[in-house]
Each structure stands twice: as structure tokens, then as C-alpha cells.
Symmetry: C2
Subunit: 769 residues, 2 copies
């Protein structure tokens, strides 16, 4: 944990002072993205110190050859990797022939980095003394355009302070990049052509195996004291590299600057033979607008996002900074414009967890996107899974399932499984439940049932078939059991009767049957189409029902709790509070077997079920389970604190809820888990949003009605957020003194506040209590 590193600020992430040991962490924290591409906050100029270079294009991945110690049948042959794409931001700078490199400078003063979240740009400022004693002041501003999402812009300014100097800018493109995360150190990119024309340069390259074609491009303009200089650059071309060199004599105190425009065109959006043409087109648009106008557009685009998505917190700058950082990064990662894309756990900020899509999307991200965007965004995320249904059925077949049963992959880029740890890949099957739950949740929130007859029902049936086949009848228990699973708590492997998994299985079957009946009754055409396709008989449904009706749930009479799994009470039940600090985090300090046999829980497991199906349990039951499990929970998953924050708030334990809130919202900013250098925890950021909206705000959907039971931590003066509920925008303000609801669009709306009906009039401020 590193609490004092990022300077608290309502709208910006700020770092002051240059610390080489923080470079990789800052590269993660100051990452920028626009949904179509993103990059770590690597320096434009050369940096010879420890750095993790990363620039990523949405949907461009590589099927790295699998690496395992001992092969198990069923493992996929490859592991899809988020792929470091060619570098377009690079600008080598030299002063009197000496490269500017913060790692070798004699002094670096006034170093300040700012990620302005309100306006969507990254800046850097410093005064450096080079080994040749020239002192320069450098200011850089960079952003990735939301409007023109193939392009980014950099304004790089250098002012020699103590002497006149010859300054060279050498903007370059480089496709000779490597991946941090590579199993066999293979080359992932094949450069097919390098070309240039005046101030423009292009590298065409394609990924090996997956054959994603891209064009990485750039065009630059240089300025002396603000006036553009037109002179043909020198060209340096290598097999994977092209640089254009702009050299000028600059007087002491004057500014030499370069504006570089660059980015990627990709064959997901263009004909692969016309990527250079597309690049030229976007460059003309960008250059015609110019850096300043693009930046103005950027501010406006972000203002539009914030208009809907912002959460304000008064009286607690760190909390405010935390939630905005989370909302900002989610929007940098995924904007819902393309249903072929999804939300990777590290977004565009790192490579870990190789694939793009986990159950995180369904369990954590969809609620955020449902409430802060048009409902089509959430629907696109559901369709992503519908489009992968066939591959999920193939995946299940590989593991011995049949008759159209689907097991969605744990990690995927294209619908195929690309993870291989048997205890996760084969056993962490609860993910199937989250995919069904998301369909339910989408319908519950948006009221849009049409998705289910059109697409969702096929998914629900395939998932129900899986659970039916995956359970087996225990003559010993006279119940159906589900053996050999890993629950959300990955600190247990190959366990029997994980309560969460069994509960989801039963729910999935029942929910599928409920919707089969509803579609049969109300959407005859869709029903016939589906039944013709999937051959479902009454007899089969009856078999499913037998499983659901006779599912076993481990329960302790003594503790009056559902047990996380069979045998949980055999553990040595020492709470986390009694665990020496020196032994935490246990995933770094303990061997795996010790973790497994300990009672320590990585993240909400039984409580995750209570979160999903809250309306089926009493508050007393929640309290009972929270009190039993939380003391054993180490929260070493980024997905843990948010759920606990929501539940603590529900139980009126506001101090605990607040602590969990800070942990989830500042997980990366304060580097709780000592791993921010690897990238940010993007998907759990949606959990942070939930912990305010659902936790403190108490937002629920009850019988098609929005419901709130707002609370406020004592550390805050007030907070506010907006919700898009079925195309109506509602703004909620909660302060220590009062509670205000504002209906910003549409007709009067009846909601529940603290379980009492309240009618919101359009644009009329409602004050309750």
C-alpha cells in the first residue's frame, strides 16, 4: 500500500517529483484510452530505466502457444494474449546531440504528471539537466481522441533554459515491440510495409496467426516559439521502424515544440488493403482541426460522459478522486460502441490475465453500463455472449457434456477458452451462472424483455442443460450434488457443493424454465424457431426440474449459515484479525496448499450469492452470513471489497462500508495489493460504482420500480449520482441533512424511497426527510 503517492484532487490524478521506482506504477495509473485503443503512460522520449511499454488496440489479440507444466486433457492449445501494439507515441529528443532520458539526467526538477479526468488528457512537466549540462524545461500534453477514436495527439514542448541549443525531435513508429507477457518469446507482429510521404509515416503490420491487419501512423508539425516551421524531415527507416527527424537551433528561453498525431487503423473497421488510405483520411481530419480544437472536442466529449456518469462526493477529496478515477477508467476502456468488444480485467493498462473477457463483465460491469449509458450498451454486452454460444457448446463438448450444454469460457477473446489451470478452466463453472444472471438483471433493470425471446433464451437453455448434466445424484445425501468445483473464492479448489455454485445452478434451471414457459405463451414465433433449433423435450425439462428441486445445500445448524462448501467447518477457524500482518497478503506469503486448507476467503462467495439474490434472504440472514464469513475474508481479489461495502451499508455498518469503499475505489491509487505496476483493475471499478449507488444509495429494482434506501458515511458532507432508468434520468443527492431526487427527463415516475412510494415530477426537486 502506498497512500501518499498520488496527490488528492477532485478531478485529477497528480504525481509530483520523479521517482524511478514509481515509473511502472505511474505508467499504469496515468494510462489513457478511448475504448478503441489505449496505452500506458510511457514517456514519449527515450527512457532507459525500468519501464513496462504498452499500447493496446481493442480486439487485437494473439493466440500464444499454451505453456503448462503437465498437460491435462481438455486444455486449450493456446492462450489468447492482450497484445502490445506498435508504438506510435515515441519522440526521441536530443539536445546538442545528447538524448533526453530522465534516467540519465543529472537532475530532474519540478516533475509533475497530471491525468485530467474531467477533460481526458495527460500532461507532464519537468526541468531536467542533461549529462551535457544543458538545462531544459519540458511540457507534454497527450490524449486519445474520443471523437476520432483512431487518433491521438501529443504536444511536446522543449525550452532550453541555460544556453542556446540544437534540438532534435525524432518522432517515430516502431513495430519491433515485444510483449511483457509471452509464453515462448515468440514474435507476435509481422511488419508488411513501411512507407512515408512528407511528414506522414505508416507501418503496416499484421499479427501472426490471428492475422489482424493494422496500420500505425503518424504525422507531425514542429513549431518554434509557437510558429510552425515547414521543412522536410530526414527519414530513418529500418525493418520495423521509421523515424522522421526535425532539427533546429533554439535560442535560450525560446520554445521548440512538436505536435504529433498518430494512432491505428485496423481491419475490424476498414478493408485491410486500405488501412493506409484510412489513416491518411483520419490524419487530414485531425490535422485540419488542429491540436487545440481536438482538445476542445475532447473536453466536450468527456463533459458529455461526466454529465451522465459523474458521482460527486463532498467533504472527502480522496473518496471523490477515487470514484472519478474508477468511472474515468471504465469509460476509457469500454464505451459500448462495438458489440465485438468487451471489458478486459486490465483494460488498456497492462497484459495480465491474458484474455479479454471474464465473468467480471456480467457480474460487475453490466450494472454500471446499464445505469450510465443507453441500455443498448448492456444489450451489446449480452449479445457478445449470445454470439459465442456455439463456441461455449463446443467447449462443453470437449469436457464431455452433450446435447447442446454450454460452458462459457473462463477467459476469452473470441468465444474459445484460453485459460489453462484445471482448477479454474474446468472447475470454476459458476461463471455460467453469472451469464444467465446478467440476462435476468438486464431485464429487471431495463424492462426490455425482447432480448430473451430473440437471443437470451437459447443461452439460458444451453446453460440449464449444462447444470443438469453437471450435477449428479448422491444416493448418500438423497439429493443432487455438484462435485469438484472452484467457487468465486479461488482460495479453494476442487471442492464439493460450493453453496454459491449450487444455488446458481438451481436458479439457472428455474429461470430457464420460467422463460421457456413465458416465451412459449407470449412469443410463439420465437418459441417455434428456438425449439426447432435445439430440440428440447418436456421430458428433458422434467429432468432439469428434478435437479433444481432436489439440489443439496450445505448448511450448519450450529452456526445457522449456509456453508461455503462441504467440510468448511473442518478448517482451523482462525479469523483474519488473528493472522499476523507479516503473513499477508497470503497469496504472496503462503504456499498454495496452505492457502487452500486455510479458512481464508479471497472474495465474496456465499456473500456473492446473497448479493445477487438479496431479495430471497432476510436481513437477519444476511447479517448472520456476513458476520460468519467476513472475518475469514482477506479481500485479496479486487472484486471483494465492493460487495462487502454494499452489504455493510445495507446492515447499517457505515464505518465498515466506508472502509471497504475506500479499498475498492482507491485499490490502484493507493496500491493496496502491491501490483499496480502490472496494470489497473478495471472490472472491479464497476464494483466501486455499485458500492456508492447500490451500497450507500441503496438503489434496487423492486417490481419494476426504482427503489432507494440512501445512507451517507459520516466522513462525507454529501454525494450525488445520476441514473438512467428506462430512458429516464434521475439525479440523487444525499447530504447529511437531506435527500433529494430530481427527475431530469420524461414523465412522472413513481419510485420507492425507504420503501415508501414517491412520485418524481419532471425536473421538480423532491425533498424527503
Amino acid at each position: 500500500m502506498n497512500q501518499d503517492y498520488i496527490i488528492p484532487n477532485n478531478w485529477s490524478i497528480i504525481e509530483e517529483g520523479f521517482d524511478t521506482s514509481q515509473v511502472k506504477s505511474s505508467e499504469s495509473l496515468f494510462s489513457i484510452g478511448n475504448g478503441a485503443m489505449g496505452q500506458r503512460a510511457n514517456f514519449e522520449e527515450k527512457y532507459s530505466g525500468d519501464t513496462f511499454q504498452g499500447s493496446y488496440i481493442a480486439g487485437v489479440y494473439y493466440p500464444d502457444k499454451t505453456r503448462v507444466g503437465w498437460w491435462k486433457n481438455g486444455y486449450p492449445e493456446y492462450f489468447a494474449k492482450v497484445l502490445n501494439a506498435p508504438n506510435w507515441i515515441g519522440i526521441n529528443v536530443s539536445i546538442n546531440g545528447e538524448p533526453l532520458d530522465l534516467n540519465t539526467c543529472k537532475t530532474v526538477e519540478g516533475f509533475k504528471r497530471e491525468l485530467n479526468m474531467k477533460e481526458g488528457w495527460l500532461s507532464r512537466h519537468f526541468i531536467a539537466t542533461l549529462p551535457n549540462n544543458v538545462q531544459v524545461e519540458v511540457s507534454v500534453k497527450r490524449f486519445l481522441s474520443l471523437d476520432l477514436d483512431e487518433v491521438g495527439a501529443i504536444h511536446y514542448q522543449v525550452k532550453p533554459l541555460n544556453t542556446d541549443a540544437e534540438i532534435e525531435f525524432q518522432p517515430y513508429l516502431d513495430s519491433g515491440i515485444t510483449n511483457e507477457d509471452s509464453n515462448w518469446d515468440d514474435q507476435f507482429w509481422d511488419t508488411t510495409n513501411i512507407s512515408f510521404e512528407d511528414d506522414q509515416a505508416f507501418i503496416e503490420s499484421k499479427t501472426m496467426k490471428t492475422d489482424f491487419h493494422t496500420c500505425t501512423f503518424m504525422e507531425s508539425i514542429v513549431f518554434s516559439s509557437g510558429d510552425p516551421i515547414f521543412s522536410a524531415p530526414q527519414v530513418k527507416k529500418e525493418s520495423n521502424y521509421i523515424a522522421l527527424s526535425y532539427v533546429n537551433q533554439i535560442k535560450k528561453g525560446e520554445t521548440y515544440s512538436i505536435q504529433k498525431f498518430g494512432g491505428y487503423t485496423v481491419d475490424r473497421n476498414h478493408d485491410k488493403t486500405k488501412l493506409v488510405d484510412a489513416a491518411k483520411e483520419v490524419l487530414i481530419t485531425a490535422i485540419t482541426k488542429g491540436f487545440d480544437q481536438l482538445l476542445e472536442d475532447q473536453k466536450q466529449a468527456w463533459a458529455n460522459i461526466w454529465e451522465m456518469a459523474d458521482i460527486t462526493i463532498e467533504g472527502d477529496t480522496k473518496a471523490q478522486q477515487g470514484i472519478r478515477f474508477n468511472i474515468f477508467q471504465l469509460n476509457q476502456t469500454y464505451l459500448g460502441k462495438d458489440s465485438r468488444l468487451n471489458i478486459g480485467p486490465k483494460g488498456f493498462t497492462g497484459e495480465k490475465y491474458g484474455g479479454s473477457t471474464y465473468w467480471d463483465t456480467e457480474a460487475y460491469c453490466i450494472p454500471f453500463y446499464m445505469a450510465t449509458k443507453d441500455q443498448n450498451v448492456a444489450r451489446a454486452l449480452l449479445e457478445y455472449r449470445y454470439n459465442h454460444l456455439e463456441k461455449a457448446i463446443e467447449n462443453a463438448e470437449k469436457l464431455g457434456f452433450k446435447n447442446g450444454a454450454a460452458l462459457y469460457p473462463m477467459v476469452t477473446m473470441n468465444g474459445e477458452e484460453c485459460h489453462n489451470e484445471w482448477e479454474i478452466t474446468f472447475e470454476e463453472i459458476h461463471r455460467n451462472g453469472a451469464i444467465a444472471f446478467a440476462i435476468y438483471n438486464y431485464h429487471r433493470y431495463t424492462g426490455d424483455y425482447s432480448y430473451i425471446p430473440e437471443k437470451g433464451l437459447e443461452v439460458l437453455i444451453a446453460i440449464a442443460r449444462f447444470w443438469h448434466q453437471r450435477a449428479n445424484f448422491s444416493t448418500d445425501k438423497n439429493k443432487y450434488v455438484i462435485l469438484g468445483v472452484t467457487g468465486p473464492n479461488e482460495y479453494e479448489n476442487n471442492i464439493n457443493n460450493n453453496w454459491y455454485t449450487n444455488y446458481l445452478a438451481k436458479w439457472c434451471i428455474n429461470y430457464a424454465i420460467e422463460n421457456i414457459n413465458k416465451v412459449a405463451a407470449e412469443y410463439a414465433t420465437d418459441y417455434t424457431k428456438i425449439m426447432n433449433k435445439i430440440k428440447l423435450s418436456e421430458a428433458e425439462i422434467k429432468e432439469w426440474k428434478a435437479v433444481a428441486d432436489n439440489m443439496y445445500f450445505p448448511y450448519s445448524e450450529k452456526h445457522q449459515v449456509y456453508l461455503q462448501q462441504d467440510g468448511f467447518l473442518d478448517k482451523e477457524l482462525i479469523t483474519v484479525a488473528n493472522l499476523p500482518k507479516s503473513e499477508r497478503p497470503i497469496n504472496q506469503k503462503w504456499s498454495w496448499d496452505r492457502i487452500l486448507r486455510s479458512p481464508y476467503i479471497k472474495q465474496a462467495d456465499v456473500l456473492q450469492g446473497f448479493y445477487f439474490f438479496e431479495d430471497r434472504f432476510t436481513e437477519e440472514e444476511l447479517e448472520q452470513h456476513f458476520d460468519f464469513y467476513e472475518p475469514f475474508t482477506v479481500h485479496e481479489s479486487s472484486l471483494s471489497p465492493c460487495v462487502h461495502s454494499i452489504q455493510a451499508a445495507k446492515l447499517n455498518r457505515m464505518d465498515q462500508a466506508y472502509t471497504f469503499y475506500l479499498r475498492t475505489s482507491r485499490l490502484d491509487l493507493d496500491d493496496y495489493n502491491h501490483e499496480v505496476h502490472e496494470g489497473l483493475h478495471i472490472t472491479s471499478m464497476a464494483g466501486t460504482w455499485m458500492s456508492i449507488v447500490e451500497g450507500f444509495g441503496g438503489m434496487r429494482i423492486i417490481d419494476n420500480k426504482l427503489s432507494f434506501t440512501p445512507k451517507i458515511p459520516k466522513q462525507w458532507e454529501a454525494y450525488s449520482f445520476k441514473i438512467n432508468f428506462r430512458n429516464q434520468i434521475i439525479k440523487i443527492n444525499v447530504s447529511q441533512q437531506q435527500l433529494n431526487f430530481e427527475l431530469l427527463t420524461g414523465n412522472d415516475l413513481e419510485i420507492l424511497v425507504n420503501n415508501k412510494p414517491v412520485v418524481l415530477k419532471n425536473k421538480i426537486l423532491k425533498s424527503v426527510s
Copy 2:
């Protein structure tokens, strides 16, 4: 399975006809070894077809960089690999400039390969027509000397049948070899010097990282029609290779032959700077004796081994061939001459299972060596573990144990763990029990208690400490439990309360305490020495005792059996008989998760415990458990059929016992598991021996007395074996008609036959029944 491939023969393994698809399997089956080195039956001449080249030197291994998909804390950094050593057997042969290569010959007729187990040599004969239409008859004989265990000899004869021909022999040494089993395709050998002198050549090389220095050497003599030809060979030298070329014009029908002597000198036995000198010395000895005399010595040496170790079976050639093959391979692998060595699961016949020593040694091999060799051989095997005690303590410390608790490695070359699958490495802890059991078994069989005060007790205490710490108290069960283990049945992972493991744990603690008391009472000096070293208090022993006395054992009242683990009865209990053949072996047909949640058992687990501790259970209990578990057992471990054969014999189920016997004794010869190309299953061969001696012979040690309850399968006319019991040799003959015991050495000996005392008089034939 491939039942008709090896020709049944009492004393030889014979293959007739050349089948390229069988080459790799035959390379395994016809492997030769002499305890110090061994090699697959690769051809001397070039072979361009599919082959698995392997020549191995005892104790020479390589710490290959670990490869895992996802790193777990506690994994070792490296994985020790059995190392393919430089090739010394190679003899390139060319006829009129055309290389002899069975893969390219126009025809190969009369191909016969024989591994003569009685005399310890390998021969090959064939008539081949080369692409240039020259037809040659080739005869080759090769052996690795038991007496001079650094040297092997080859006699390679070529006769042109249809024309005169220029024949070239090019014997060579090659250190540019690779390993089949390599994680990162690293180079394992570093060639430091190549030299030659007249007909001798030497390659000095050392292993990377481990720095084992070796000299690979050769010297050859060529003959025309039996007469030696002396002429200086041409030398061809490359960076990792040296060949000497002998060319002669040979008349049609005459024989050109070469005798090649070669092998390894290693720095385990010589000063590393004097390996060439040592090689010269052994070459002089070998050449002076000559091929024929060396072969005579070889026959004698093997006769001496067979004199003690042979088991005869009359009336069943396949069974006879099977047991001799097993005994032969065990003696090729380990002769007990060097306590720094141990018995690898594949011996010198392949590379799989990377390391050298598994629990197989203690559980399966020691009984064989105790009864067929001097007891010092078994003691050397025990000492091997004593010498590794410190590393076993370090290994336990890495996993969080303390206070001198030892966890012996699952796989080791030098005492360090070199396996990394968490479910095995960290969880298959029952291996610790086998190491303690071997001490008990050694004392029980040999009567030699001295090992315990001298060395064994320290091992027993360290192991007891491990079990004490590894168990935890379950308040739910009010018993001690052992969570998160893998039992001998590796088709279950991370299970709770594996009966076998819990039973061994309890037994280990009690046995340690019993011996602490005995050593305290009877070996005061040793006791004081040990106690000073390991600081063991009465209080600590009391804590151990509490664990042993209150150990939990899963039991089913309904089935009246101990359960293999908690929750076993939740499985879908479909017997193997009801499993379609197309789905077996399940380890090749099913995904891992499906195997894990199935009831199918890889090898004896509860029954392994009943085997070890037979005297603590009634025959009814054995029958109950056998009948419960065997139907779920797929015997996909080589270590399974032998235990079942012994128990079936005990239960008078002779047909079943016989089937299991064939399966264990001909596992490789008939290639039951479709994997003999990878190498032989050496350690399970000791289990084959046990299935005759302990199974059919019913040999036990009861209260310091040898006891027999002999039975005979109806397929056999008679069988016989010898036993070295406490330096007395007893020969047992069992026929369908009678039962004979012969005491070949020492004083009169009282034994039990069918539970009745019988006194054997020296060399007097006893006839019972």
C-alpha cells in the same frame, strides 16, 4: 495393448520382423543397463525414422528451468531431468558410399532382435537391401558390462551377399545430443575437450549448471573374416563429435566386422581432471580381455544375479517371461552398489517423470532388494533418505512448517523437490509415510534395529513433526483432520481426510514415539546425541500423541468400509464394468475435472493401506474393502495391479490374482497403457515380484518369523523363488501337487507354513502336504 508383438520365450525378449511403427517401443523394451549406466535399444547405425535416442548415466541429471502455466508459491525453481548423455554406441555404416539406414532400405528381411536376459546381452540380425541394391547381412551384439560398469561392448558384423563392396565403419562419439524431455530446449551439455589417440577417442563434457564432468570414450578394432586389421583410421572431428573411419573392400560372402568398446567415466568416481586417464585404463582392461571374454564374464555375472533372484514358472511361458523381464530390468537399473543412487521410475529406459526418486522406492522396491540382495542394499536405500533429511526439512519450511518438520520431496535427484504441480508437489504428502514405513519394513524383515538409533529415528521424528503440524483440529468433528491432500489415487486432488493419509499419519506418530522410547531405553548414547540435535520435549510428544489418538477416519456405516475420503459417497457410483471401453483409459479420454469427480480410482488407495498394515485388519475387512473399491479401480497406474494381485490371492480369488499378475508382469511387454515407447515402468516391476512372493507365495514376516501361505494359479504347473532372509537363503517350490522349502544356507530355521511352525534343516528338502 499389443499382446502378440513380443514372442513368448522363457529367457529372452524376442521381436521378429521390422516394423517402423514399433521402433520406439522396442527401443524401450530392449533397453540394457548395468546399474551405472543404461541405454535405450537404439540402433548403432544411422536410423532416419522415428526414434527416441537415449543413453543415461546414473546420478547425472540436469536442473531444467521450471515450466508452469501459473506460478504458485512454494514451487521449486527447477525440475531435475534425467539427462540424455553423449552417444557412444554410434557406428555409421556405409556400403559403396551408401549409408546403411533401415528406414531407407529397399527391403529388410529376417529382422530379429533378442534381449537375452539370462546372459545380459542384446542382439540384432537382419538382411537388408540398400537403395544401391547391395544386399547385406548384419549381426550385432551389444552389452553393458556388469563387472566393468564403465564400459560396454558392441560386435557389429556386415556381410555383403550379392556383390563385393567397399564397406565403411565409422564409430563415433557425439555430445551434441538433445533431450526429448526439455522445458525450454536449452542445451544441457557443454563439450570441453575432444581428443584421440590411435583407435581411441574421448569427448570430455560437463552438464550445464550441475557441472557433472564426464568422459565419453571409445576404442574399436575391425576384423575381416574374423582376422583383426590394423590400419590407422581417418579422423573426423567437429565441435561435439568425433568419428574414426575404417574402410575396407570386402568380398561377397565375407564378413567385415567391428568391435567397439565404449562408455563413460564420471567425476562421481574419479577426479574430474583425470577422466580421460580413467577411460584409458578401463579401455585397456576391456580390450585386453576382449569381447568374447567380457561376454563370458557378463554371463557369469548375470548367472550370479539369477542364482539368487530368479523366479521360475512352469507351464506358462508368458508368465515366466514376464517375471524374468521384471527382475532383469530391476537389476539393470539398480544393484545397490552406491548409496548416492536410487531407482528412477523409468530407470535407464526413458526420461518421463524427470526425477529419479519417488515413493515407489520405499513402497515397492525395497522389499525386492531386501529379499534378493544383501540387506546392505536396502539399508543404502534408507540412507539415501537420511542423507536428504536436511533438505526435506528445508522443503517443509518453504511450505510453512517449522521446528524440524520434514516433508520429503515427491520427486528428487539430490534431496530437493523438483516437481511442480501443486496438487502433487504440495499435497501428495503420504509419501512421507512411505519413507517411515520403509524403516519399519526394513527392521521387520532384516531384524537389523541398528539403523534406527543410528539414523532412522531422526527421520521418524522429523516426519512425526510434519504430521503433527499438518493435521488440524476440527471443532465440528471433535477430531483431528488432514485437509487438502492428494492420496496415492491421483485421480482425486485436494481432498479432505484421505483415509490412507490419515492412517499413515497416525501410524507414523505412534511408530516414532515407540522408537523414541526404545532408543531412550536401549541406546542411551544415540538417544542423547539425537536429542541434543533436535530438541524434542515431552510436551511436544504429548501434542503429537493427541493428534494420533484423535485422528479422524471417514467411515460408512452403510457400506461398512472406510471411505477413501470425505464425500466419496456423493459420487455417481457407476463401476468400471459399466464404463464403455471406448472411454478408457480415462486419463486419455476424459478431461481432468471429469476424472476428478468420477468414482474411478487410479491405483490402490484404501487398499494400499490394507496392504501395508494387513495385520491390523481381518480378512473379512479386507474382503469388504476389496469388493467395495476394486470395482471402481481403473488401474491406470503401473503400481496398482500388483497390490490387487496380492490381495486377491489372499482372498483366494486366484483367477483375479492371476489376471492382475499378468497385467503387472507384462504391463510393458504387452503395452497395456499404450505408452511403452516412453520407457519402461521400472519401479512397478518390484511390485510384480511381490505379487508372486507375497501374493501367490503368501510370504510375510510374523514376529520375526518367515511365514508362507502358498497358492498357485491353475494356469501354472509350478513356480519357485528364493529368499534371502537374514542372511539365510530359502528356496520355495510350489507345484499343483506339492510344496517344498529348501534351506540353502545357515542353521536350521523355524518358519510358518500355512500358519503352522515348520523347521527347515540346512539343505534338506522339506515337503509339506
